[in-house]
């Protein structure tokens, strides 16, 4: 028997019992659809995270003060180990193009009856460039502001929209932790989606943040900061920059490796990618269970089909079908169910992914990315499921004794 004849025979057998075939398909369709939809959500999350980390800036190292511990309790004094002076020194390293210190804390920003909770960032003018922000209106903080500790603020896009829904915020006064600040600029929104609070920030000069809003002292002079953004000159010298920063800081802290932590953008990305990959796998595994149930449905229907068609199998054997002809015919039937279910399921999964994108969690739009490898995987698995669960019924059919089969009522 030619393969083409086998395929046609199998497809005909499936169209004889349309409703039954359709219901069996439905099991696979739901399984594949769920796998694709859920894994696409996982992939979407990964994409969001990746873009977010990359959006922070380019070629960045994050240097944070280390929390020296006494027993297992963080020593409070050790928190403030990095200072503005350190940042200035790091900026002079050969592979480093900029080093921008930052302090941040949450604060209440008020404009008349309107108020918003914001992340207050105290930093230097270079922050704008290193962090890849754009100014939408007005201007950013300048050198002069940090020298004088001026009461000026640049609002994140969301904060500006919340506090000044109808009018231009430039030149207006807002109060931050009960102190009046003049608004000099508004940042352009980061846009996109994600879990970021980047548009919910208010940037003020570093000196202002420390002297007027929050008091912190360094263990060794200068203003204590909680983060220094170090930007390497290029991606090629990232490792070199890291080396230089490490050496400089080790010297400064007399070899105390616990005094600071350096994390590269790449490492943050890797860590988060790992998390979102596990998340994706977890979602896929849950959806995979329904695919498995769909496969059992195929097996069930194939077993029924073998029993119902016992006489037909006997007749086919009598007119010359070999074991392998019968085996192939039933395997083709079950794998056709798997394959068609996989293809339709892909379409359904794609549709579901589009629907999911209309929902949002905590103001952030969900994002689903239907990746080609996920589609290939899902269709491949559903085909394999069809083959696997069809194997036992097909073997049973092929092994039937023709005499018994012909007599079967």
């Amino acid at each position: 028997m030619t393969l083409w004849d086998s395929v046609l025979t199998a497809l005909r057998a499936l169209t004889v019992n349309r409703l039954r075939s359709a219901l069996t398909l439905l099991g696979i369709i739901i399984g594949v659809g769920a796998v694709i939809a859920l894994m696409s959500i996982g992939r979407g999350a990964r994409q969001t995270v990746t873009e977010q980390i990359q959006g922070i800036g380019s070629n960045l190292l994050f240097v944070t003060p280390g929390q020296a511990t006494v027993g297992r309790v963080a020593g409070a004094a050790s928190l403030a180990s990095l200072t503005t002076e350190d940042a200035a020194n790091l900026a002079n390293l050969p592979s480093v193009s900029a080093a921008v210190p930052r302090v941040s804390f949450f604060g209440q920003v008020v404009n008349g009856p309107l108020n918003a909770r914001a992340q207050i960032v105290g930093t230097l003018p270079q922050y704008l460039e290193v962090r890849n922000f754009q100014v939408a209106q007005g201007s950013f903080i300048e050198e002069e502001h940090t020298i004088t500790g001026a009461l000026v603020a640049v609002l994140g896009a969301n904060i500006a929209a919340q506090l000044f829904p109808n009018d231009d915020p430039i030149g207006k006064t807002v109060s931050i932790n009960r102190r009046p600040f003049r608004v000099i600029g508004v940042l352009a929104p980061r846009g996109g989606t994600g879990f970021n609070i980047e548009d919910d920030t208010v940037v003020v000069p570093l000196t202002t943040a420390v002297r007027r809003l929050q008091v912190r002292r360094s263990t060794s002079g200068g203003i204590a900061v909680d983060l220094i953004y170090v930007q390497a000159r290029s991606s090629a010298v990232m490792e070199q920059a890291r080396q230089e920063v490490t050496e400089a800081l080790l010297e400064r802290f007399q070899g105390n490796t616990d005094a600071f932590t350096i994390v590269s953008q790449q490492e943050v990305l890797q860590a988060l990618t790992q998390v979102t990959n596990s998340f994706t796998l977890f979602l896929g595994a849950i959806a995979g269970i329904s695919l498995l149930v769909g496969g059992i449905g195929i097996m069930n229907i194939m077993l029924v089909s073998v029993t119902e068609r016992t006489r037909e199998i006997g007749l086919r054997k009598a007119v010359g079908a070999r074991r392998r002809d019968i085996l192939l015919q039933f395997l083709l039937e079950s794998s056709a169910l798997g394959l068609v279910g996989g293809l339709v399921g892909t379409a359904v999964g794609y549709g579901l992914a589009r629907v999911v994108e209309r929902f949002s969690i905590g103001g952030q739009n969900l994002r689903a990315y239907v990746a080609p490898d996920v589609v290939l995987l899902a269709v491949g698995v559903s085909l394999a499921v069809g083959l696997f669960f069809g194997l036992y019924p097909a073997r049973r059919a092929a092994g039937l004794d023709p005499i018994q089969a012909l007599r079967y009522e």
């Binding site: 028997m1 030619t2 086919r316 009598a318 010359g320």
Partner: protein, 232 residues
């Protein structure tokens, strides 16, 4: 002339748990080309078992079977399937057609398993023409009468030009008139050179054969060559 079928000391023993059932206890039989042979006997006489062995659906426990001179009792499953396909045409009491397939598709089935692609449809049409169903090609088998269904089954049996047609109670489900028509068809095929073996317990049907073999308890107890044609 070489015999189509030569059986020497064929035995068939079934094991039903610890009990051995002797369905055939040493059968010797030769069937020659162009013959029409009826195998008669009460149920349990072993005539169906004998037909299954001749049709290569079953294997003898002991004895030799030569099909057109070829030793077949020791061949593997695939080789037997191939021989069934090329050399043997079956006609069953219950027709055993694929119900939703057309007459043509049913007749094409053995050709499909023979791997024939080119000219398949034409050969199936010719076979249906030969059994007088040239006008029913595209009817589905469940739209045909019993007699027509059996004609389709006969067309299916002869489409691959077998050496032997084995008919197991071919008129068992048909009325007398239709039975006579089907038997006349077998006679016509025999005149055209086909070798036909019938299994039946009806003397009226056996009478169509020129040679009658009577079985009882797994043995041939009588052979006569007195069959005459009741029509002509």
């Amino acid at each position: 002339m070489e015999a189509v079928v030569q059986l020497f000391g064929i035995e068939r023993v079934y094991r039903m748990g610890s009990v051995a059932v002797h369905a055939l206890r040493g059968v010797d039989l030769a069937i020659y080309p162009g013959e029409m042979v009826a195998i008669m006997g009460p149920s349990g006489s072993g005539k169906s078992t004998l037909m299954h062995i001749m049709g290569l659906l079953d294997r003898p426990t002991a004895g030799r079977y030569l099909l057109e001179g070829q030793e077949v009792h020791r061949l593997g499953d695939s080789a037997l399937a191939r021989l069934r396909n090329r050399k043997i045409g079956f006609v069953f009491q219950a027709y055993n057609l694929l119900p939703r397939a057309t007459a043509l598709e049913n007749v094409e089935l053995p050709l499909m398993y023979a791997g024939v692609v080119r000219g398949r449809r034409q050969r199936a049409m010719d076979a249906l023409e030969r059994v007088g169903l040239g006008h029913r090609l595209r009817h589905r088998s469940n739209q045909l009468s019993g007699g027509e269904q059996q004609r389709v089954a006969i067309a299916r049996a002869l489409v691959n030009n077998p050496s032997l047609i084995l008919a197991d109670e071919p008129t068992g489900n048909l009325d007398t008139k239709t039975s006579q028509e089907i038997m006349a068809l077998f006679r016509q095929l025999q005149r055209e050179g086909m070798t036909v073996v019938l299994v039946t317990h009806e003397p009226d049907i056996a009478r169509w054969a020129e040679r009658v073999v009577v079985m009882r308890d797994g043995r041939i107890i009588e052979e006569r060559r007195d069959g005459h044609d009741p029509v002509g």
